[in-house]
Symmetry: C2
Subunit: 364 residues, 2 copies
Amino acid sequence: MKKKIALLGSTGSIGTQTCDVVAHQSDKFEIIALACGHDSELFREQVRTFSPKYTYTADKPDGMKLSDLATLDEVDIVVIATPGHSPLEAAINASLTGKILALANKEALVSAGELINKNCKASGSVIHPIDSEHSAIWQCLAGEEEISRIILTASGGPFRKTPKEDLKKVTPEMALKHPSWQMGPKVTIDSSTLMNKGLEVIEAYRLFGTALDQIEVLVHPQSIIHSMVEFVDGAIKAQMGLPDMRLPIQYALSYPHRLANPILKSMNLKDLTTLEFEQPDTDKFPCLDLARKAARLGSTYPTALCAADEIAVQAFLDKKIEYLDIPVLINQGLEHNKPVQSLSAEIIRNTDIETKEYVAGLIK
Amino acid sequence: MKKKIALLGSTGSIGTQTCDVVAHQSDKFEIIALACGHDSELFREQVRTFSPKYTYTADKPDGMKLSDLATLDEVDIVVIATPGHSPLEAAINASLTGKILALANKEALVSAGELINKNCKASGSVIHPIDSEHSAIWQCLAGEEEISRIILTASGGPFRKTPKEDLKKVTPEMALKHPSWQMGPKVTIDSSTLMNKGLEVIEAYRLFGTALDQIEVLVHPQSIIHSMVEFVDGAIKAQMGLPDMRLPIQYALSYPHRLANPILKSMNLKDLTTLEFEQPDTDKFPCLDLARKAARLGSTYPTALCAADEIAVQAFLDKKIEYLDIPVLINQGLEHNKPVQSLSAEIIRNTDIETKEYVAGLIK
């Protein structure tokens, strides 16, 4: 029996790579629903290739909602690769269905992780993470139970060696050069401020049920080791490999098995020469601690963190604020936020909107 | 229910560390049989500490044989930490009982691995490896099935950077300085010639059922990563940690669980700075290929390899031969050997004796 996939966000980087994986495992997987933001030649080509029963484009929604695709009875795995806040409702609803959520969207777990986890527990849904770090941790956890520490690796970004006093001169052009992975501008800026890693700390906290202080960040500029887990006996396992997102994508689909795939190359050990590690500089990169603060406060704070970051990063890209204003604005967004008694999709949506308005107001 | 342990070789390095682990996990494990080579104050102290029901010293055997301790009905785990060829019969007999064999002795798997594996398959016995590399591989295999490659790491020994032409001048004193682990002289010399790693290739071949050409050796001077496994999707898992044999010892006892233990320290990530890797120089260190040759030929060849190596290394330590004579003599021992139709403990013993006599004759 082929596993039936709904792919939300098919034309983005994770979406196209998911299509690539499925095209090479057509005896194992079948895409029966495809969704993207805008109709395009790429999307039409994907529709021709996979002949999905259901399609959806956000700009021409013809009656169906994104959430409808994520909750189709016949779907086994929902791949959520749509960026930003737009697939949040779909993710929350899918987590009520008992399906597998292959999750590439950061905001879903950061903003709505508490709620999604609650839903998963009740419905039997499980989350299969699709990013290199959380997939690495998840892979290290196979066959293991007694975790003592999660060690999230970070490339350190382009300003790892830049003195703190030079960070105020950073321009969007300088920040958009990222050493290892090809990513969109928002993620690239988040990666340079280490906010990306801060969000990943919150994701790990939601995914693996460890305490916040059991999650450490370790800078590893070569990005060969994708993350590590330490166990109660002091043993550490690391997962490593070439930087190719198709591996975590396929693992999220094939788990608990692994599949050979001609597009997934074996690492030539001759290319493995030096791996370096260093502690992150949280004084230079305060976003890491802002993320921990939001996670510690819980409730709507992680939502406010994401929202404030989104506005601040966009303002920096638009040259309305300076690089060092980003963490200042995020902190103001957090300070402005209020906790709630009980989370819901609506409260999360409102927190997102309110925080964005508040931070945008500070910029003007 | 405590697991009942027979510890063979209690006064050596692995033996004393096994006692240390058990003393700190006294609610989980109980030593009911202790064996060593020579009576000593240390042995008497161990007897006082653990009050084992059975004791044995090779120099005063009072009726029992080592093999009797390894096959006691009430024993769950036999820890075989006696060095050299002496525990071979005990290991072979224990593998017929369905017990767990926690195996620190290299010769048992190299010389008699084919036979022990056959016995294990019939009896339900399983081997839990106790050395850092095979334990690392075994840990990486937890929860995994689809292996593509085993990557055995090697410190590279003290002559990693020595030009080949200078190796002929190597003295025992020079070779006995090993960077990371404290070991006896035989193992230290084997480590300098890479024969130790060659024997470990054969052990991995016996333990994990992979093809010989799926086992690679990678030099990693820091010895922080203890070995790695690659899977069919290109993912690599590495196990790392401080160089402390008490971790693999405890894992061999506690598997499939891990136990917190105050004597097993967590690695301070501040100490993790640089990990280096390079390909082994098999031209400079021919022992690695000699071991592969013996494994490929199978039958009694691995026994002959061990036997020839033992005599050659002792002759080098006694200054009867030069450093570069070691691989020459081992190869002569292999060339002299003949395969047999069917292996038995007796044939292995005879091959060991004959090869040793033959190589000793070449030295005179």
